[in-house]
């Protein structure tokens, strides 16, 4: 266990150093203000505090969190009912199949008109991108549950509710956490896009704003923050998984 942790730290440190080294090399090769020296960027970290970066992070996390939560609230029940009911599957599957590949970001103008320029349209876009992923992943993992898993609990007279609580939900949890992890990555990258209008807050806005003012150092600081927040979110997911899915460890 300790050895494993140690190895993880090393991996992290090594990744951090290589990334920065490559960044540094590029800054030397191109010698342009759009790729500043990483050390220069790190020296300016205090600037972030003056910019109230916490507020920006808070806004972004709120949008991501709400989007993911809504996607789960809609996606999990939909995926489960698709797996359990052939009728629901028959009606919903063509729709999901057809609309899954549509790039949801292209629906931004529609979302803006219907949901407004503020958080409504931003959260809607995150929701739309994630909900299909959640539905498909939940449906697939429910279908993978071994039939005999239900046998025992049903023979004790379990209601549908008992089955969902004791079998379905715990069974899909590992895959669900994986799909949330992927969702998080997607949601973070979409920030850049949805925080480019109708707001003065958010990590996406912070980066775009610095860019438009040709303040490249500040832009890089924004990118650093975005990367760090993403990293912490992933770490949180790891912890959550090792806590919730102890049983799944070999």
């Amino acid at each position: 266990m300790f050895k494993e942790k140690n190895q993880q730290y090393r991996l992290f440190l090594f990744g951090f150093l290589t990334t920065n080294f490559i960044w540094f090399l590029f800054s030397l090769i191109y010698n342009t203000s759009i790729i500043p020296d990483p050390i220069e960027v790190y020296r300016r970290i205090p600037v972030l505090l003056g910019d109230g970066i916490a507020v920006h992070i808070g806004y972004s996390l709120f949008r991501i969190g709400t989007g993911i939560l809504l996607a789960l609230l809609v996606g999990v029940p939909t995926g489960i009912s698709m797996a359990y009911s052939t009728r629901i599957q028959r009606y919903l599957y063509p729709f999901i199949y057809f609309s899954y590949p549509i790039p949801k970001t292209a629906l931004l103008p529609v979302a803006m008109l219907l949901m407004g320029m503020r958080d409504g349209s931003k959260i809607s876009i995150i929701f739309l991108i994630l909900v299909f992923q959640v539905v498909v992943s939940v449906r697939d993992s429910v279908e993978q549950i071994d039939i005999t898993t239900y046998q025992v609990i049903r023979s004790a007279g379990a209601t549908r509710r008992d089955v969902v609580r004791h079998v379905t939900l715990p069974a899909i949890l590992p895959n669900l956490l994986t799909s949330i992890r992927i969702s998080l990555g997607t949601a973070l990258s979409v920030l850049f896009f949805i925080e480019g209008y109708g707001t003065k807050f958010g990590m996406g806005y912070y980066i775009l704003d610095a860019w438009s003012r040709i303040n490249y150092i500040q832009m890089y600081l924004g990118i650093l923050v975005l990367a760090l927040v993403g990293f912490l979110l992933f770490l949180m997911m790891d912890l959550l998984e090792s806590y919730l899915c102890v049983w799944n460890k070999n």
């Binding site: 005999t148 898993t149 023979s155």
Partner: protein, 263 residues
């Protein structure tokens, strides 16, 4: 000990998959009594598992009825009204619950409170099945024999009126299997609930069955029925070996006429 009976009357079942429905059991009539273990011996595909599923309330009946009799009261068997214990082929333990939670889950679903008396009973049950030290472990970390004992414990934790077993020992190695059968039998003998075991192992049928029934494919009729004098024993007598041979021939040639002969 109160006498229970289970009547299977004109039972019709079909095997169902997504786009196919094949009748596997037609007009089966069978009476099971508490105090006896009935073993159904049959080749794979004769509808044994479908029958177990139907009894456990997991499979719709195409026709006929399954009724449970206690005293003068005779009602349709239903998982919510009777206590049905089941030991499936691959144990059916929930991987996300500890051994203890697995064993107690069915009690929880039946709203049976784990009071002092019951918790004492459970403690002794775990002790007898040698799983007391495994209670906090998850099924993934158990050996086959351990998982099997947990599955047996879970079925008996319910203090079942009806006990159903679908090839429960088939995944174990020979020695562990013998051990598990012995443990199972000891536990069953405490209350002797109605018990139905389906298997393709002749040896197992002769060891665990008071009564042995050979199912006839493809319609799932009762092809042959015998009271088993070798119950609880692995005999070396020549008569025992003759019986083994006879049963083996029936399983091999299920269509043959001799099935209708009686011993």
């Amino acid at each position: 000990m109160e006498q229970f009976k289970l009547y299977l009357s004109d039972l019709n079942l079909s095997y169902k998959s997504k786009d196919l429905s094949v009748p596997v059991i037609e007009n089966l009539n069978l009476t099971l009594t508490s105090g006896r273990i009935t073993v159904i011996l049959g080749p794979s595909g004769c509808g044994k598992s479908t029958l177990i599923n139907a009894l456990a309330g997991n499979h719709p009946l195409d026709g006929g009825s399954i009724t449970f009799e206690s005293g003068k009261n005779r009602i349709p068997l239903h998982p919510q009204t009777q206590r049905i214990g089941i030991i499936p082929q691959n144990y059916g333990l929930l991987p996300w619950k500890t051994v203890e939670d697995n064993c107690e889950l069915l009690l929880k679903i039946k709203n049976l409170e784990i009071d002092e008396k019951r918790s004492e009973f459970l403690g002794e049950l775990y002790e007898r099945l040698e799983i007391s030290s495994l209670l906090k472990r998850f099924p993934k970390s158990l050996s086959g024999g351990q998982a099997q004992r947990v599955a047996i414990a879970r079925a008996f934790a319910l203090q079942p009126e009806v006990l159903l077993m679908d090839e429960p020992f088939s995944a174990l190695d020979a020695i562990t299997r013998e051990n598990a059968r012995e443990i199972f039998l000891k536990e069953w003998e405490k209350n002797k609930p109605i018990a139905l075991l389906v298997t393709h192992s002749i040896e197992e049928a002769l060891y665990l069955g008071n009564e042995i029934i050979v199912m006839k494919s493809p319609k799932g009729h009762v092809g042959f029925r015998m009271d088993n004098p070798y119950f609880g024993a692995y005999s070396k007598e020549s008569k025992y070996l003759e019986t083994v041979d006879k049963l083996r021939n029936m399983l091999r040639n299920p269509q043959k006429k001799e099935l209708d002969d009686h011993v």
